[in-house]
């Protein structure tokens, strides 16, 4: 691409001022994140409470790896055993492991989890996933070890 430039600048006073301004913003962000903070087990309990039956990890695995009448399965991007990096099926961008056992940042933010279920179920299943499906998939993902 056209731009050719040097990438590194020394730390300056404006950087220090910037950090001073940024610190409260970061604290606020952290506080907001904590409000949605959860563990994978918490989230599983929440989905299971709304589900039609007890979560079933085997069902979760088949739901995750099967296609649902459309081009992609969950596994198309996350891989059939998501303890390793996945790869976006369209763009090729690397995706960090989805299983919490391999990536402790996964399933720790309710809003984020719901956002991705919304987007990805729409692509894979063509509708919102049910709480039963979410609970099954999460129950399976929690069992995976790197």
């Amino acid at each position: 691409m056209a731009a050719r430039h040097s990438n590194r600048l020394p730390m300056t006073k404006s950087h220090t001022a910037f950090i001073r301004i940024l610190a409260p913003a970061l604290a606020l962000t952290a506080a907001t994140c904590l409000a949605n903070a959860a563990t994978p087990a918490d989230l599983l309990v929440g989905y299971a409470a709304q589900a039609a039956r007890t979560p079933n990890a085997e069902q979760g695995q088949s739901f995750f790896t099967a296609r649902h009448g459309r081009d992609w399965a969950c596994a198309s991007c996350h891989g059939p055993a998501p303890v390793a990096d996945g790869r976006h099926a369209a763009t090729g961008k690397s995706i960090q492991p989805l299983a919490p056992g391999a990536n402790p940042t996964r399933f720790t933010d309710r809003d984020k989890v719901e956002k991705w279920f919304r987007r990805n179920c729409s692509d894979v299943v063509g509708r919102a996933c049910t709480d039963t499906e979410k609970a099954d998939v999460l129950a399976w993902l929690i069992t995976l070890k790197p």
Binding site: M1, R118, R119
Partner: protein, 155 residues
């Protein structure tokens, strides 16, 4: 004019003179504002967080109005985030650029020019997969750095 204002005017003038040329070079960087952070999170999860200056505001506006059907995938965000990112992209988009076919960066004339030395079989390598996979070759793509010296074409 008060002396304080003189100094302020001088400071502004100095900044413009000193950093004006840098602005063009930094056009592909995202910056660190809250909006840039939200943009990286919401958009940069599936593809490189394409620098807003790579498309004109009209393209960004069309893309942001249609996120649930975004090049074949659901890229929807919550309404507040949608509004905020749309406004940010509108302000950061490159007003002078022509709107490319399908609002695809990779269909822009300048994109084709910059990449004209690479034949189709390079793009289709499994390690690259798609022209939209900037990070496959531009190692600084995630931070909006597309310096030629940072390019490595994978086998």
């Amino acid at each position: 004019m008060k002396p304080g204002l003189d100094y302020a005017a001088l400071a502004v003038a100095t900044c413009v003179l000193a950093f004006g040329p840098l602005r063009a070079e930094a056009a592909e960087r995202l910056g660190r504002s809250d909006s840039a952070t939200a943009y990286r999170q919401e958009c940069g999860a599936c593809h490189a967080a394409f620098a807003p200056g790579l498309l004109p505001p009209a393209s960004w506006s069309a893309l942001m109005a249609n996120l649930p059907r975004h090049f074949g995938t659901d890229a929807s965000v919550d309404p507040a985030t949608q509004k905020r990112l749309a406004a940010w992209l509108d302000s950061q988009g490159a007003a002078g650029r022509a709107r490319p076919e399908g609002d695809r960066i990779t269909r822009s004339a300048w994109f084709r020019d910059e990449h004209s030395e690479f034949p189709a079989d390079v793009w289709s390598r499994p390690s690259i997969k798609s022209p939209s996979n900037c990070g496959a070759c531009h190692r600084g793509a995630d931070s909006g750095v597309f310096d030629e010296h940072d390019v490595r074409i994978p086998r």
